[in-house]
Symmetry: C2
Subunit: 270 residues, 2 copies
C-alpha cells in the first residue's frame, strides 16, 4: 500500500518537527495525511546492510518509482538530511515488521526491533506532488471521494540491481486534457516525488487491461472527457522488496508516514 491510504485529515501541526514530536510522545497514533501541511512525507523501507547496497543502486537506477530522499548509515537511526531532531525508531506512528517476506508484527516504535546492521531508506511520496496540484486548483477525484488512489502493475520493467527487480507500479488520476497538460508541467518540477507522469491515455499500452479493476487501491471513474494520467508509484519498491523476501525488513504501516522538516515547495527544481 502507499502513502495516499487513509487520507482523511488528522489534527494538523505547524511543522514537520512538531508532528514528529507528537508521534514520538505517543500523542499522534493514526495516519499522517494532513498532519503537517506543506511538509514532505516519506515512505519507509528498512533493510539489513547485506541487502542495502543493492537496494540503494535499485533506487538510483529507477528514480521515478523510487525517488530516494535519504538513506541512513547502518545502525544509525538518524536522518539529518530530513530533520534535525529525527529518530526513525520513534517518529512514525505505526511500523510493520517482516521476516522472510511475511508480516510478523505491527509496532508503535522500533526500540526492540532495531539492529546495528539496519539501513533506513526514505522514499518520496505522491502527497507532495498532489499538494502542488491541489494548490494549483486541479481536482483529484480519489481525494474528493476519500478513497485510495488506484494502482496497477504495468509491463514497464525496472532496471534490476542485485536481487531487486520487477514491474513498475503506477498510480492513476483522471484529468481533463488541459489539466493533464498542466499536471505534466507541475509534476515535472518535482523529480524527487515521482516527477512527470510516465503515461497518459492508453492504459493498454502499459499492460493495464481494465481501468475499473486496480491491482491496489480503489477504482475511480474516468469520464468521457478525461484522460487517465499515470505516475510511477512508491508501491514499486515495496513490491520489489517483498519479492526478495528479506530475512528481516521493516516498513511503515500504510498511510503512517515519516513527516520531515523539508517543505514540499523546496522539492521543486524550478
Amino acid at each position: 500500500m502507499n502513502a495516499v491510504t487513509d487520507r482523511p485529515a488528522a489534527k494538523a501541526y505547524a511543522s514537520g518537527l512538531e508532528a514528529r514530536l507528537a508521534v514520538r510522545r505517543g500523542e499522534h497514533r493514526g495516519p499522517t495525511a494532513g498532519v503537517a501541511p506543506g511538509y514532505v512525507q516519506g515512505n519507509l523501507a528498512i533493510l539489513p546492510k547485506a541487502l542495502a547496497d543493492d537496494f540503494f543502486r535499485f533506487c538510483h537506477y529507477n528514480p521515478k518509482p523510487c525517488p530516494l530522499l535519504a538513506a541512513s548509515e547502518p545502525g544509525d537511526p538518524r536522518l539529518p538530511a530530513l530533520g534535525e531532531d529525527l529518530d526513525i525508531r520513534t517518529d512514525i506512528p505505526l511500523y510493520r515488521i517482516w521476516r522472510n517476506g511475511e508480516l510478523v508484527d505491527e509496532v508503535g516504535d522500533l526500540h526492540a526491533a532495531w539492529r546495528d546492521d539496519l539501513v533506513a531508506f526514505l522514499i518520496g511520496c505522491s502527497f507532495s506532488f498532489e499538494e502542488a496540484l491541489l494548490d494549483d486548483g486541479i481536482r483529484l477525484r480519489h481525494i474528493e471521494q476519500g478513497t485510495n488512489v488506484p494502482m496497477w502493475r504495468t509491463n514497464i520493467t525496472t532496471q534490476p540491481a542485485g536481487p531487486f527487480r520487477g514491474p513498475m507500479v503506477v498510480s492513476m488520476r483522471p484529468l481533463q486534457p488541459a489539466d493533464a497538460i498542466r499536471a505534466v508541467q507541475i509534476t515535472s518540477r518535482f523529480p524527487s516525488v515521482h516527477g512527470a507522469p510516465v503515461h497518459i491515455g492508453k492504459p493498454e499500452s502499459i499492460g493495464i487491461a481494465d481501468l475499473t479493476r486496480p491491482d491496489y487501491g480503489d477504482a475511480v471513474e474516468v469520464r468521457d472527457d478525461e484522460l487517465p494520467v499515470f505516475w510511477a508509484c512508491g508501491v514499486t519498491p515495496q513490491s520489489v522488496i517483498a519479492a526478495v523476501r528479506p530475512e528481516y525488513s521493516i516498513t511503515h504501516a500504510p498511510g503512517h508516514m515519516l513527516v520531515t522538516d523539508l517543505r514540499n515547495s523546496r522539492l521543486s527544481v524550478l
Copy 2:
C-alpha cells in the same frame, strides 16, 4: 497557411543574417524551411496603424496562438529586436498583398507596396519548437512525410480586441504517450513559439469532429498507440485578420518566413 508549409530543405546558410541577405539579393526565392538551422523564423502580418493597436492588444491577450516576437514602429521597416541588418520590405522571399480581405498580388519585395502608416508584426512559429522536439529525438510524422501539419478551427475562443476575434486554430502532431509527456515539457519552455500544447487526446472536446479531415494542411495518420497532441497555431491570427477584411494588409506567402538573428535555443525560458 502557416510556417510548416513546404518544409523540404532548401540551401542552408550559416546564420539568420546570411539567409536574410541571400533573400535580399534575390539569391534565395523559395520557402525558408531549413535555410538557417537553429535560427528563429517568424510569421509576418502587416497592418495599417488604424488597426495595429487593436491587433497588438489581440496578440497580448492571446499569446499561445499569437506569440508576438516583435512589432515595428509605424512606417519603419526595421525590426532591431530580431536582427541588426533587417528590412522587412526586402528580407522575405515572397509576400502577399491583400485589399479588403482579397489577395491582390504576390511580390518579391515591398518597395512599391510600403506605406508610412504600416506596422509589421512578427509572430513566433512552430518551426522553433519542432526543432527542439526533433533535437530531442521525437519523430514528427508530417515532417517525415513531407506534408503540411494538419490544422483545425476549434471551439476554443480567443479573447477579442477591437474587431479582432474568432476561434483558435490548432495544429496536431500524433505522438506516443511518453513522447507526448516529453513534448509538453519541451514546448513549455518555449512560450514565445506557442508553448505547451492546448489539448491532448480528446479532439471532440475542442470541437474537432474528424481527425482525417483537417481544415488546413494535410491529414496524418494517428495510430492506435498514439495520442493526437494539439498546439495553438499561427494560422489563428491570419484567420482573425482575414475576417476583419482590412482595407490593406500584407503577409508572407505560405512557407516564406522571416529568418531572424535569434537562436531557437534562446527562446527557451529555462
